[in-house]
């Protein structure tokens, strides 16, 4: 197994409350690893330690080490020389509730490219490719200027996956990406995630055991801040 993420002795506190308790784990590259467990066991917090998104929240602290293996190099993501912007472009994230930005469908996808400082000439092509990859292009190609919030829940979540994928991340973190969607939309997202497996490693938090069986290559369970 070629590993891409290595976690050592990871503990996380929110105020005085311990959320993650001395977790050590490794995750395989180009695979979908499902993280299951009861509500409040720290699954979402665990995901946020891999792209350091928890640092945007006040009152949280952590200890331990999270390393990524990218381009044949081991990188401590909490090292001083690691840029947060760079890290979050390498480690994309999709949230539980679809969160398109309140702007057009096109702008939602072009924004990460713009923020990454990529040349504007290529935006159109990249947007089209990302939407095609997310099986969304036929549904939105004539309404790219429409507000992204006018899409259905399933379409919005596929847009968010396309947005996370547009910068070609090595890892995609998925925090219960189908829990707010109906069965049909959830199945569409599952198919999409399976097609993306070759392009990036996926860590998916899920409560749905049937879904875990359908899509996950590996399963890890988290109970009371500990992983097994």
């Amino acid at each position: 197994m070629k590993k891409i993420i290595e976690i050592k002795n990871l503990s996380f506190y929110y105020g005085k409350q311990q959320i993650l308790d001395n977790i050590s784990a490794e995750f395989a590259a180009s695979a979908i690893t499902a993280i299951t467990g009861p509500s409040g066991s720290g699954k979402s917090t665990f995901l946020m330690t891999i792209n350091r998104l928890w640092e945007e929240l006040n009152g949280a602290t952590m200890s331990g080490r999270v390393s990524l293996f990218l381009d044949h190099e081991k990188l401590d993501i909490y090292g001083r020389d690691v840029s947060l912007s760079w890290l979050r472009r390498k480690v994309g994230m999709v949230f539980q509730i679809p969160n398109p930005l309140p702007m057009s469908i096109y702008r939602n996808l072009a924004l990460p490219l713009r923020m990454a400082g990529l040349p504007k000439e290529n935006f159109g092509q990249k947007v089209e490719t990302a939407l095609k990859q997310a099986f969304l292009w036929p549904e939105v190609k004539d309404r790219l200027r429409d507000d992204a919030r006018t899409l259905s829940g399933g379409q919005q979540q596929r847009l968010c996956i396309a947005r996370a994928m547009i910068l070609e991340p090595a890892i995609l973190l998925l925090d219960e990406p189908t829990s707010s969607l109906d069965e049909k939309a959830a199945r569409e997202i599952e198919s999409l995630l399976l097609t993306l497996k070759d392009q990036c490693t996926q860590l998916m938090v899920s409560h749905d055991q049937a879904q875990v069986k359908r899509v996950a290559d590996e399963v890890m369970e988290m109970v009371a801040g500990r992983m097994s």
Binding site: L53, L84, R88, L101, M115, A116, L144
Partner: protein, 292 residues
Amino acid sequence: MTRVFDFLLYIFAWISGLILVGACGTFMVFLLTQGLPALSFDLIFGSTGMWDALLLKRVVSDGLLPAIVGTFLLVFLVLLTALPFGLGAGIYLAEYAGKRSKSFFSLIFDLLAGVPSIVIGLFGFSLTIFLHKHFTFLTPCLLISALALALLVLPYLIRSTQMALEELPTSLRLTAAALGADQATTIRFVLLPQAAAGIFSGIILAIGRAAEDTAVIMLTGVVVSAGIPRSLFNSYEALPFYIYYMASQFSDQQELQQGFGAALILLAICGLLFTLAWLIRKKITARLLYHH
């Protein structure tokens, strides 16, 4: 009991709305009936020909044109000087300031908002006297008025920017951060476009305040008759001062009506500036959020 309270609250809210609309309507009807008969080319251009006046070939000494131009210049200069600092301070308070500095600066800006305009005017006047000692050419003028008015409207701009940014959901910031945006990029590309409506309502308030305030300008540079100012260091005319002057010094009914005419023109100018601000906001928002 709850149903009775709900009903009473509904009636109270309804009557409050009605009183407001009624008062506004009555005021408009009063102003229109008083001001409309006075409106004419003569009121604006006096005995000077329209084109001669507009092309600045001849000075308008008995019409409102210099006051109209003075009011526009004043609003423009106030926005030019206050807007960057208002936006900057609002962004600082909403996005960068720590708890302590936020409460300290908030207190200062609240105090500034509570300062009566006549005191700001006095401050501008004292500043002019002080500066005149060192720069003898500097007397009460358009620039001093604009700077003093900028101080007056600054709290509106700061507060509206701060509130507009703080009201945005945390999920927007998290989404942008998850896409690799640093704080400055998030503010520029995500938060400011979303907060545009709130920020522009502050700008509209500032425009209204700059266009109508009399206390500040009467101590810092406005005069009854000066013509169109040739530079920032000239004294100037402005509509609110003209209205005040006419209302307090009128010698006959016709002069009082001219005051009402000027009030109507001032109201129209404010309406025009509000519409312009709204159009600019719409255009900017559409461009930032929906165009390719």
